[in-house]
């Protein structure tokens, strides 16, 4: 097929060279815009482009068709080099109806000049109301300054299939390939890989629709683009953050993932459920989140590190057991794929609101290790680190991902799994019964645990205050010492961490501190401002408990420090808000306490990833204020 397509290319208009573009495909839920978007992203990555994708997810499984709330699809940012975030407004949007486009307009995803390909079938509807709404919308789009191209998507598909609802997405994929000058011979393989399970006829139909869309694009598109690609030479993989987490779980040699379904965490378990068995693991779908963590702790006690994967509401239910794991020094990896909160909040959307919960949600003083991956690649590698830390420090380790990482796709260097990453075999040799099950090293608080089956290691874990023999002991001295030993482990870990690396100059006017999925957008914003000569740098934390060392010293080299994080902060200019009443974003609170530096914050909660342009605008204002102060 590749060859056939290439020959026809000669009739097409020449493509305009661009360094990057942002494309969105949106449809009613169930029309396959997400599939088309993922496949388009995959093709771009295979041809050597940098990509970042964002899923556009409706709140319901089958929302009413042609509704603003029902938009489902994908945003793909394509670049000629590495892409680290979803970018600002879209350059191109393909909409299978005009109403779903409104949800993207409401989300601020378009700008004047955005090219909109909208299916014109609605303008030909037999229902006068549908016709009227379409006509009205198209006029409105033009008034808003978008370049509207009414496209015969459904009518073209009808030439090939009686049920275009099931194939329009492949036609659109073909058209996009024509639009972006992609003529990869691998398209056929990818379609076969995607639809092969549904049978040869389905593959064939999809291929035909793809070719139709491609040909239509070459013949009819007035404008075409080309994003320069550098062919992939080193082994590379493309996946989303939840897939990376799942593969990380396997590569860490974890044997049990105990979970209860919750968006946006569940897809990691879906992936594991389909693949874990071969790597020696199981997914246990428990009756609730409490049981999920209890089961995981049982596995862990029996010598197998386990992971439990959840999101905010499920995490809330796990907190009593989490405190138990702290108290009994049981290793455990807890993945929290954050969504908006509190309560049910924004089930499918990004927020970074669970930092404080991760740090403090259990009763009493219950320090835990908290890590946050900043890229898809780190979702993979940090799980391996987390398992090791959990074992070595006998501690629960919380890995805070978020909805942006969960569904975002990005290429990264193919990991080479090592035996050293896997959990070792369960020690069943005799235990010297003179060694206590919590024989704390007085300097570091670290100790080694006996595993059931080890003769001589018999002991009883208990959540009640206990001495190093795990014997219940209410004497105040014992509690003081046990608390100190459990706390000391964190100083021991902190002393082993490297100070964070500053992006940009090590000193300047403004330092931006972030954590989690905002890394790419923050650094892009900082780079744009630095290109304008502004004295701004950034720093991104992976360890949130214990915090990476040297922060105070780094902060003191800047006139001002602010966090940018997707969790709520009061607007300092709002009524009643002053320095005393202002509730600040969570990392800012943590850093203020930790460094005694007057750390400011910016905490918008739009339910979508922060665009670099908005971050840059906000930072520029802060820099201007600083300029006026001096």
């Amino acid at each position: 097929m590749g060859a056939e397509l290439v020959t026809e290319q000669s009739t097409a208009r020449a493509a305009v060279e661009v360094s990057e573009h942002i494309v969105e495909i949106v449809s009613d839920s169930g029309e396959g815009a997400q599939t088309a978007g993922q496949m388009f992203a995959d093709l771009c990555a295979r041809s050597g482009n940098g990509i970042w994708t964002v899923e556009i997810i409706p709140a319901e499984i089958e929302p009413p068709s042609r509704s603003r709330a029902g938009a489902s699809g994908n945003r793909i940012r394509i670049g000629s080099s590495r892409v680290t975030n979803a970018g600002d407004e879209a350059d191109v949007v393909v909409a299978l109806n005009e109403q779903v486009l409104y949800s993207r307009i409401d989300a601020g995803a378009l700008r004047p000049g955005t090219i909109v390909y909208v299916d014109k079938v609605w303008g030909e509807s037999r229902d006068p109301e549908v016709r009227a709404r379409y006509v009205e919308a198209v006029e409105d789009f033009r008034r808003r300054g978008y370049t509207v191209i009414e496209t015969p998507i459904e009518s073209e598909c009808r030439k090939r299939t009686k049920d275009p609802r099931k194939g329009k997405n492949m036609w659109v994929l073909g058209m996009l390939c024509a639009l972006y000058d992609l003529h990869e011979g691998t398209v056929r393989d990818r379609i076969a890989a995607r639809f092969g399970r549904k049978g040869a006829a389905v593959v064939e139909k999809n291929l035909e629709l793809f070719s139709d869309g491609f040909r239509w694009g070459l013949e009819n598109l007035e404008q075409r683009f080309h994003v320069h690609a550098v062919p992939v030479e080193t082994p590379t993989v493309v996946m989303n953050g939840n897939q990376a987490l799942a593969l990380g779980v396997m590569a860490a040699g974890i044997e049990v993932c105990s979970m209860y379904p919750i968006t946006p965490a569940t897809s990691a378990s879906h992936y594991l459920a389909a693949n874990f068995e071969n790597a020696g693991g199981i997914v246990h779908q428990a009756e609730d989140e409490i049981a999920a963590i209890g089961f995981a702790l049982g596995c862990s006690y029996a010598g197998k590190t386990a992971v439990t994967i959840t999101s905010g509401p499920g995490f809330a239910l796990k907190t009593e057991f989490l405190g138990y794991a702290v108290m009994t020094e049981l290793p455990l990896v807890v993945v929290v794929v954050q969504r908006g909160g509190p309560a049910t909040g924004l089930p499918t959307k990004i927020e970074q609101g669970d930092l404080m919960a991760a740090l403090f949600a259990s009763p009493g003083d219950s320090p835990k290790i908290v890590l946050a991956p900043a890229t898809i690649e780190e979702c993979f590698h940090l799980i391996i680190t987390a398992r090791r830390l959990a074992e070595d420090f006998r501690s629960p380790v919380i890995v805070l991902s978020d909805a942006n990482l969960a569904t975002g796709q990005q290429p990264f260097a193919k990991p080479e799994p090592k035996e050293a990453w896997l959990a070792g075999p369960v020690d069943q040799s005799d235990w010297d019964s003179k060694v206590a099950p919590m024989a704390w090293d007085p300097r570091t608080g670290l100790s080694k645990r006996p595993i059931p089956g080890q003769r001589g290691g018999q002991h009883v874990l208990t959540g009640i205050v206990h001495d190093e023999w795990s014997h219940i002991a209410y004497e105040s001295g014992v509690n003081q010492r046990a608390m100190a030993m459990r706390s000391r482990k964190f100083a021991a870990l902190a002393s082993a961490l490297k100070p964070p690396v500053v992006h940009g100059d090590p000193e300047g006017d403004l330092l931006v501190v972030g954590w989690g999925s905002t890394l790419g957008a923050i650094e892009e914003a900082v780079d744009r401002l630095r290109a304008d000569g502004r004295r701004v740098s950034s720093l991104h934390l992976r360890f949130l408990s214990p915090l990476e060392p040297g922060l105070k010293e780094i902060f003191q080299r800047f006139r001002k420090v602010t966090t940018v994080e997707v969790n709520y902060a009061d607007d300092p200019d709002a009524p009643l808000i002053n320095d005393e009443t202002r509730r600040r974003s969570q990392l800012a609170r943590l850093l203020r306490e930790h460094t005694l530096v007057d750390v400011d914050c910016w905490g918008p909660v739009p339910g979508s990833p922060l665009p670099p342009g908005q971050i840059a605008t906000h930072l520029a204002t802060k820099l201007d204020e600083l300029g006026r102060e001096s």
Binding site: P452, G453, G457
Partner: protein, 317 residues
């Protein structure tokens, strides 16, 4: 090597575990508390079966009864209130070699842990569940429990429990995939021991409700049965809990019950005029979650690495 045959073997000295080797800290329950006899029944059974203490894991919740593991010398997991069953299932899931006991109270199992109770029965993993029912919240000092009799005054219901009690036996019998349900009493050590032994012999989740005296708070509750043995109804069957003839003779009120007969089990379990003891139900063919999820156990590191590499390769571009 010099002087050594290539094939040689040293027989390890046969290991004989004494009762003392199963005994942990001195039990701190009140004198006369029924928990004492359950503890010694479990210790004796472990000794009789010569289960190495290091292969025993006793998981419990929170309550007087849940102090149990501290008084054993074995591995123990004194967990959270209501949560012993998920933990016990987790211990068993990747370690089929361990003997897992779960100790729970009537509040622990039938109130806060009720959800786990239903599901642990359904998972039917090979664990032994002992629910020590004193009809009260003991540890927290005498509040109404789900099994407290209607009208019985307690510190939370001074005018009497407002609702009829929940029947843990009929509830358990009603759970799909249930495989072993028995009842015994703490004050009849031979029956208690025989029941616990049968429960441990059963391959699947065995649920034993032990009617447990709490002289401190509910000395009155099982007084009728203690005064007059005819209040106890002995269920008998060759496949059930079999007592020595002398012990059997002491219980005059007896009934034949085939533990495969679920309908009859329900009828017996629902009786409130007597305390039926013995085996209500056993289904050796119920699906075992620990067996159906055992796949992948014992994979070698190189098998694991191979599978992981293959999984990663599917994302390669």
């Amino acid at each position: 090597m010099v002087g050594l045959k290539t094939e040689w073997e040293i027989e390890p000295a046969p290991r004989e575990c004494t009762l003392a080797e199963y005994k942990g800290a001195e039990a701190r329950w009140c004198p006369g508390c029924g928990d004492h006899s359950v503890l010694s029944a479990v210790q004796k059974m472990a000794r009789d079966k010569q289960i190495p203490p290091e292969r025993i894991v006793v998981v419990s919740g929170i309550g007087c009864s849940s102090r149990f593991p501290h008084y054993m010398s074995a591995y123990g997991f004194h967990s959270l209130h209501g949560r012993p069953l998920p933990v016990a299932c987790g211990v068993k899931s990747r370690r089929p070699d361990l003997h897992v006991f779960a100790i729970s109270g009537d509040g622990d199992c039938c109130a806060i842990g009720a959800g786990h109770w239903v599901h642990a029965i359904r998972y039917n993993m090979n664990i032994t569940i002992l629910m020590l029912d004193n009809s009260i919240y003991g540890l927290t000092k005498g509040q109404t429990s789900p099994t407290t009799r209607l009208g019985r005054a307690s510190s939370t219901h001074p005018h009497g429990a407002p609702l009829p009690p929940l029947n843990p036996l009929t509830v358990t019998l009603g759970i799909s995939n249930v495989s072993f349900v028995a009842q015994t009493v703490d004050w009849n050590p031979p029956h208690l021991s025989a029941t616990i032994r049968a429960a441990h012999d059963h391959e699947g989740a065995s649920f034993v409700r032990v009617l447990q005296r709490c002289p401190h708070f509910t000395g009155d509750v099982y007084a009728d049965a203690l005064e007059d043995r005819s209040h106890v109804l002995l269920m008998e069957h060759p496949d059930g809990i079999v007592l020595e003839p002398a012990m059997r003779e002491r219980l005059k009120n007896r009934v034949d019950h085939d533990p495969r007969n679920l309908g009859e089990a329900f009828q017996l379990a629902a009786r409130t005029d007597v305390y039926p003891v013995g085996l209500f139900y056993r289904d050796p063919d119920a699906v075992r979650y620990d067996l159906v999820t055992a796949h992948g156990l014992g994979k070698t590191p190189s098998e694991k690495l191979g599978a992981i590499e293959e999984a990663i390769e599917r994302f390669a571009i």
